[in-house]
């Protein structure tokens, strides 16, 4: 699945998007954050405070307990500051 990052999440990880294949045990958005965090120091830094991270699946906001099966694009980003 495609994962995209924005704002300081993107800067900390050092890339805007990538394709990942998480193992079968990674069922939810929260699981995915946990798994991504193990992929390197840059990921651990980006996700060091999981509760501030916001997520979207296919352009719709989702919560950490949302199941990721069937997702085409999952986005992770900080709380929004537009307007």
């Amino acid at each position: 699945m495609k994962v995209v990052y924005f704002a300081w999440v993107r800067e900390r990880i050092g890339k805007a998007e990538e394709t990942v294949e998480p193992p079968a045990g990674v069922r939810t958005v929260g699981d995915l954050i946990g798994w991504l965090s193990t992929r390197g120091d840059e990921y651990a830094y980006a996700f060091e405070t999981p509760k501030v991270i916001r997520a979207a699946i296919d352009h719709t906001h989702v919560r950490p307990d949302t199941v990721i099966a069937g997702a085409r694009e999952i986005a992770f980003f900080p709380p929004m500051t537009g307007g």
């Binding site: 995209v4 980003f77 929004m80 500051t81 307007g83």
Partner: protein, 156 residues
């Protein structure tokens, strides 16, 4: 009653008066247009004053979230039109960041819908501001007040 919804995300600056004219020209059923203009503030402090903002967004989702909230506003209030323009890229103090226009036969619907749209867009539309000051640049932290402001419009 026909209604217009215009949503644009763009680098370029825009002219608020031209946006109002686009909503109202050749119509006689509009009695009120409420404008919220978001403008880049430079700040008062000498050392930490904002010298520029850079706006990042999530293309596709930003448009979809704004459209969803515009539709909700059209359903909740008797509006004749909604225009939302949000800039991205580098913006200097004094320049426009965004505008929300709501048009209606009467003022109450236009005022309420404009406030609803701003509260929701602040909390849910995927835009992020990076601030430049004399001392460097930093991502602006979200205010929890923005979530509270959006939540007050939730239906029980």
């Amino acid at each position: 009653m026909t209604s217009n919804v215009t949503i644009r995300i763009q680098d370029a600056d825009f002219d608020v008066n031209r946006e109002i004219a686009a909503l109202t020209t050749s119509r006689t059923d509009i009695g009120a247009v409420v404008t919220f203009s978001g403008i880049c503030r430079g700040g008062e402090g000498a050392g930490d004053a904002t010298t520029a903002l850079t706006l990042e967004h999530y293309p596709g989702m930003a448009e979809a979230e704004i459209a969803r909230h515009a539709d909700e506003a059209m359903n909740r209030w008797p509006l004749t039109g909604v225009t939302i323009v949000h800039r991205v890229g580098r913006i200097l103090p004094g320049e426009n960041i965004m505008v929300v226009l709501t048009a209606s036969a009467h003022r109450q619907a236009a005022f309420q819908a404009a406030e609803f749209l701003m509260d929701y867009l602040k909390a849910h539309a995927p835009f992020w501001k990076r601030e430049e000051t004399a001392g460097g640049s930093n991502w602006i932290a979200a205010k929890t007040d923005d979530d509270d402001a959006a939540a007050r419009w939730d239906k029980n």
